[in-house]
């Protein structure tokens, strides 16, 4: 130990360094503490890690009475397949860890195509099995704690999450339960920012982990929201890796 006096002329410099260190430590501590509490609330890291694959089944509601059936499947480490189906036809979006692809069958074309820039950015995000908060540093994401903020009358902790690809997300964690109730996203696509927000709710348990069963999203600030409500979340269903690979054209017809 040494006293400030002993530091002599270097005192203020050292103090600044120490203060700076304390500030960054406390910042990191807060971030890790909040994320730790979030993980603990939803079931804990062990239970989270025990999940190797998830199948979400539910309904998409786009406003004005428009509905579709939705299916999302995630498999570790970073595979995802999403289906929106209507009149027995399914739009498929998938990523196998390397290739992102889409089938948009509604106008009669049922071949798989590779995803464009926007789609690719999004599908890679969707493939993040535990979401960007869990193991954020390993994934190259940066997280900062920005303080408390009111959201629609609820107190929240606001986290700024900068994903490895530059996308910025603001997470609003409920101060009682540490689960996110809102996420704002700012993606930069071809030099232009696109902002959206997602409202999470109806957290329920599946396989020992709490998942949001209601996910409403839309442009930031707009009252027009598309809502996905899950009926069922299956834990560790069997899934073949090939299920996520891009099919070789042409796809089989009905």
């Amino acid at each position: 130990m040494f006293s400030l006096k002993e530091l002599g002329m270097r005192r203020s410099l050292m103090a600044a360094v120490i203060l700076g260190l304390a500030a960054s430590l406390s910042q990191a501590q807060t971030v890790d503490e909040l994320i730790g509490k979030y993980v603990k609330t939803i079931g804990g890291m062990d239970k989270l890690q025990a999940i190797k694959s998830v199948r979400y089944t539910g309904k998409f509601e786009g406003g004005g009475g428009f509905t579709a059936n939705v299916l999302q499947e995630n498999k570790r480490p970073n595979m995802v397949r999403e289906e929106f189906s209507l009149q027995g036809m399914a739009q498929v979006l998938a990523y196998d860890g390397k290739v992102g692809w889409i089938i948009n069958p509604f106008q009669g074309k049922k071949d798989a195509e590779t995803l464009g820039e926007e789609g690719m950015k999004q599908i890679v995000e969707d493939a993040d099995f535990d979401g960007p908060l869990v193991d954020y540093a390993k994934k190259g994401n940066k997280v900062e704690y920005l303080g408390k903020e009111d959201y629609e009358g609820s107190d929240t902790y606001k986290l700024k999450v900068t994903l490895a690809d530059g996308t910025v997300k603001y997470y609003f964690l409920d101060t009682d339960y540490y689960v996110p109730i809102k996420i704002e996203t700012k993606q930069t696509i071809r030099g232009t920012d696109f902002e959206s927000e997602t409202i999470l709710g109806d957290y329920k348990e599946a396989g020992g982990v709490y998942f949001p069963y209601s996910i409403a999203s839309g442009p930031k600030g707009s009252s027009n929201r598309q809502v996905i409500t899950y009926d069922k979340i299956e834990i560790n269903p069997a899934m073949d890796d090939a299920h996520f690979n891009m099919p070789k054209p042409p796809m089989k017809a009905n």
Binding site: G108, G153, V179, I228
Partner: protein, 1058 residues
């Protein structure tokens, strides 16, 4: 602690509170803000732009626009689209915007416009963002009220100078030039005015040597009845003058007629100053001095000597409003001068051309693209304008809804129209909804000048009353736009009547029109005859009637300072003989005998300072003796709100909003609800406020995208549709649809964890499309929802477990479900009133006509909300749109045919499912068998079956426009046609339904015949080959999604991740 544990504890806690009767629920912004709000604009007229800055980075142009009272708007695409970035701040009035030249994400905003017209708003200091406008921090100078310019040292951007103009209506010390050297953490006043009414009016910097600064100090004051630019009188000489510093503001030297050879003698008023960026020795100033020495001056030696140049009218006009010079970045001889018209010199200031062209007029700021001087952006009283040819022609920004309404009224059309007048932007009418959205095209300009009160004539829908400044009321034919001036005129030797700039007009349901000068006038015959029904109701104080002397150094008497006038009028809706009048000089007058006698009751109002501007009077709807009034003292420097209520015709008054309350901003308007007498709405300079308890507790409405600090000048409650229509001065018209939940939000309800709020019957609005592809640069106002809106209250946000809303018909069957909203306080969800989309057999492509369910029949439904295991219900009545030309029996006939087709699509799906079950099984067996002959037989059988399928559905794939239509496509088209018009279907539609059903039955019969004859043979052979026999699937497919607009299907690119 696990979640269930927390839940349990919370439940106990809430239960305990309920039992003990503790835990009074506080009503606050979040309680009420869940009611949605929509902005209908318009951007057709847009509004005053006070300041702007832009920056070109590579090929992209970023623009920050400072609206006079509508916040800061950012465009990242050169002006195609704009985003308001300042809406969460406490004020919306902008005086200065400056992008940090080194760090383009850092932007400084000085709040409080310095173009100090009578209606100007106020600011609360200087703000900074370091992330391009996402987050702002108030960096101080909170008492400066207005800031005219911010200059950032281009070499050291932590050094910033603020030109603080200061308070308009009162003395203050926080004005002058301020400097920070630490990015705004602290400020030092480096140049003070010589008195407490002198601040900084404009400032300029030598960009090559940023230590060289010029500050134009300005002595000014506005009062309700006069304005001066320059000193008060001989005993209080003008503090205006030009100052120069060459040491970053440490020391200043005045440049006046003694030190700057050629300058006019003092006193001065407002001065603009600009340094030529390409040659900083060249300084331009405009000087408001005694005529004829006023005008433009140029120095080529940094201010030592000056040459008097142009003094054309636009150079010398209204210096308080237009003192701004903008020099071309590359040519010291080219410059713009803001003015009533924009003027431009290319000869160093000797002569100017009018380059305003077809832009609106009353220009305040100009930006010249440093990479190409042909690209010019300017802001005026009508919005933002772009030129790509050096200001020859202008392109208007059609996407900036910063319109500055003074008043708003509504009519009884369906949908109703909204009427209002705006600062320098005439009087307009626009629909509250329009198929496809309320674009700028739907708004119609009615009159001219500045607009204020605008009313539909309730006795003749073809006519509208509107006015321009100073009470020039006209009656306008909406179809022909013929306008007849009907202003009451003075009598013999009366000189002129005193009409306020913003003259009150009040029109009653019966069509009686009131207008006030110092006298109250009334007409019952559309202005053919006016009855003068009062004596002078004002103080008639001659000291406040010297408008011909107003302006200061240069006279400025535009009627904006007309005073000792009537400002507010309201006839009692319960008694036409009771009329309330408020004046701008502090009188509240009431007559109970139709104007024969008047009583000034203002002395009965406790605690109200004298001569307060009576901004609104609202006669009660439940008792003739009741009235509310708002009082505004900001013209005396008191920005706090005052509102009072009387229940005894003005004998006694109680404060409903006091300066000590949480309500912010001087008060413009108060309205008592039409149904619930305890529900009050108030508009102040800083927002919309709601009280559920007669004025004891006020909550600021902060819902949707409504800006927190916007000035709410007027309010209207639609008597039929129950909408609250909000006139903002800076952000256009906003509507909160159906405020009945606020009427029903009792203290009892507030105590409940969750509760429905009784809804009025829902009208099934006519289905209609409209609008067109206008691109992104056109403002489109949001329509009222076509859906049934269901409102409920939650004491706390819902996070865990289910929250489900189902709709049940009279038999108790679920006919729909909607996702629930989760927020604390009032929540709103929408039900489209549609059944699920019909089940449609799979085919080559989507059947666009059949992606929507039919709308349910009018009738009574039940809304059932399930929160975890708790169930709550409320009735929901659905009615026909009164505009439809058919009756309920027609509607039923339509619904019956719709359901017949709906079920036929279901039957068709089952038929295709049956066929496919056999066809695919045949293919499966064919693939499995090794016997080539048998395989051929199976394949042939599959082809036979497929031939039947191909009679039902189109099968050509590949994405081309195949034009292939089979029964499925015919049926879906017919179904789509039938459900999109809800009157009686045509005979041919009914016949077509029968023929398609018959053709489908024919195919079914053929398939049944095939399965009866061919399938048993095949199955017997399959058994021989030890393969599974084939059975016909009788599974009826479930509804497989759909909804309106599914023909243009656009799914999200993904489901998202959390």
């Amino acid at each position: 602690m696990n979640i269930k544990g927390n839940w349990f504890l919370l439940g106990c806690l809430l239960a305990g509170l309920a039992v003990s009767g503790l835990g009074q629920v506080k009503v606050d912004s979040q309680t009420i803000s869940g009611l949605g709000i929509r902005n209908i604009g318009s951007a057709a007229m847009s509004g005053r732009i006070a300041a702007l800055d832009a920056r070109r980075d590579g090929d992209r142009l970023t623009i920050y626009v400072g609206a006079a009272s509508g916040g800061v708007w950012k465009s990242i695409n050169g002006g195609n689209t704009y985003k308001p970035v300042f809406d969460k701040q406490d004020v919306q009035s902008i005086g200065a915007v400056t992008i940090d030249p080194k760090n383009p994400k850092t932007v400084w905003v000085g709040t409080g416009e310095s173009w100090t017209r009578n209606s100007v708003s106020v600011g609360d200091g200087i703000y900074k963002t370091t992330d391009g406008g996402d987050n702002w921090t108030n960096m101080g100078l909170k008492d400066s009220e207005r800031i005219a310019k911010i200059l950032v040292d281009p070499k050291n951007p932590d050094t910033v100078y603020a030109c603080a103009t200061g308070k308009l209506w009162s003395d203050s010390t926080e004005r002058g030039v301020y400097k920070t050297t630490n990015g705004g953490r602290s400020w030092v006043k480096v140049l003070a005015g010589s008195n407490q009414s002198t601040g900084c009016g404009m400032m300029a910097m030598d960009q090559n040597d940023p230590r060289v600064l010029y500050a134009a100090m300005w002595d000014f004051r506005r009062q309700g009845w006069t304005f001066r630019s320059g000193g008060a009188d001989e005993n209080a000489p003008s503090g205006s003058g030009l100052f120069r510093s060459n040491d970053g503001g440490a020391t200043w030297k005045e440049i006046d007629e003694n030190s700057g050879k050629g300058l006019p003698p003092k006193p001065w008023g407002r001065t603009a100053v600009a340094v030529a960026p390409s040659n900083p020795k060249v300084i331009y100033i405009t000087v408001e001095a005694a005529m004829p020495r006023n005008g433009l001056y140029r120095s080529d030696d940094e201010g030592k000597t000056w040459t008097a140049l142009d003094r054309s009218q636009m150079m010398i006009w209204r210096p308080f409003y237009f003192s701004n010079l903008i020099v071309d970045p590359h040519d010291e001889n080219k410059l713009f001068k803001a003015g009533g018209s924009l003027i431009y010199s290319s000869d160093g200031g000797r002569s100017f051309s009018n380059v305003a062209g077809s832009a609106h007029g009353d220009f305040h700021d100009v930006w010249i693209d440093p990479t190409n001087s042909n690209n010019v952006i300017t802001g005026d009283d009508g919005g933002l304008w772009f030129s790509y040819d050096g200001a020859a022609k202008w392109w208007k920004a059609d996407n900036l809804p910063v319109s500055q309404f003074y008043h708003v009224t509504v009519d009884m059309n369906r949908p109703y129209n909204v009427y209002g007048g705006l600062q320098d932007n005439s009087s307009w009418v626009g629909p509250s909804s329009f198929p496809g959205g309320i674009t700028n095209h739907q708004w119609e300009n009615l009159y001219g000048g500045d607009g204020f009160w605008t009313w539909a004539d309730p006795t003749d829908p073809d006519y509208v009353y509107a006015e321009s400044q100073g009470g020039y009321i006209g009656r306008i034919n909406r179809k022909t736009h013929e306008a007849r001036g009907i202003q009451p005129l003075p009598g013999y030797k009366e000189g002129k009547l005193r009409f306020n700039w913003n003259t009150p007009i009040h029109v009653t349901k019966a069509g009686t029109v009131y207008i006030g000068s110092q006298f109250l006038f009334r007409t019952r015959d559309h202005g053919q005859t006016w009855d003068r029904i009062s004596p002078d109701l004002t103080t008639n104080d001659p000291s406040k009637q010297k408008q011909e002397e107003s302006g200061g150094i240069i006279v400025d008497n535009s009627s904006a300072e007309e005073h000792t006038t009537i400002f507010s009028i309201c006839e009692s809706p319960l008694d036409p003989n009771t009329v309330w009048v408020g004046t701008d000089d502090g009188n509240v007058q009431v007559t109970r005998d139709g104007g024969k006698s008047w009583t000034n009751v203002v002395a009965n109002i406790p605690g109200l300072p004298k001569n307060a501007w009576v901004t609104s009077v609202d006669a009660g709807h439940f008792s003739a003796g009741t009235a509310y009034a708002t009082f505004d003292l900001h013209t005396f420097g008191d920005l706090r709100p005052y509102a009072y209520k009387t229940t005894d015709f003005g004998k006694t008054w109680t404060a409903v909003i006091s300066p000590a309350s949480n309500v912010r901003g001087y008060a413009h308007v108060i309205k008592e609800d039409l149904v619930n007498k305890d529900l009050l709405f108030a508009g102040t300079e800083f927002g919309l406020w709601v009280s559920l308890d007669g004025g004891n507790v006020w909550s600021q409405y902060k819902g949707g995208e409504f800006p927190d600090g916007v000035a709410v000048r007027d309010l209207a409650i639609h008597p039929r549709d129950k909408d609250l229509v909000i006139a903002t001065h800076g952000r256009g018209i906003w509507i909160i649809d159906d405020i009945s939940p606020l009427r029903a939000l009792t203290p009892d309800t507030l105590q409940k964890d969750i509760a429905f709020l009784q809804a009025d019957p829902v009208v099934q609005k006519i289905q209609a499309g409209g609008g067109w592809n206008d691109g992104d640069s056109m403002f489109v106002g949001e329509n009222a929802p076509d859906d049934a809106v269901i409102t409920y209250y939650q004491k706390k946000r819902h996070i865990f477990g289910d929250l489900k809303i189902d709709i049940l018909d009279a038999k108790g069957s679920v006919v729909g479900s909607v996702p629930a909203s989760k927020r604390k306080g009032l929540n709103r969800v929408h039900w489209a009133m549609r059944l699920p989309a019909p089940t449609v057999p799979p085919a080559a492509s989507i059947a666009g006509g059949a992606t929507t369910g039919p709308r349910v029949m009018p009738g009574t439904y039940t809304v059932r909300m399930t929160k975890d295991k708790q169930v709550y219900t409320t009735p929901l009545k659905v009615t026909l749109d009164p505009r439809v030309k058919f009756n309920l029996a027609d509607r039923q006939a339509n619904f019956d045919l719709s359901m017949k087709l709906y079920n036929l699509l279901g039957q068709m799906s089952a038929d295709v499912e049956r066929i496919n079950s056999v066809r695919l099984a045949l293919d499966d067996r064919a693939a499995k068998t090794s016997d080539t002959n048998f395989r051929s037989r199976l394949k042939a059988a599959s082809a036979q079956v497929d031939e039947l399928r191909r009679k039902i559905v189109a099968t050509k794939e590949g994405g081309a426009i195949t034009g292939e239509e089979r029964l499925r496509e015919f049926l879906a088209t017919l179904y789509g046609d039938v459900i999109s018009y809800e009157g009686r279907p045509s005979l041919i539609q009914m016949q077509r339904a029968d023929s398609i059903a018959k053709e489908l039955a024919d195919v079914r019969k053929a398939f049944d015949a095939w399965t009866a004859t061919e399938l048993p043979k095949l199955n017997s052979d399959l058994t021989q080959y030890k393969m599974q026999p084939i059975t016909v699937s009788e599974v009826v497919p479930a509804s497989n999604g759909g909804g309106v607009n599914a023909s243009g299907i656009e799914f999200p690119i993904s489901m998202g991740r959390w």
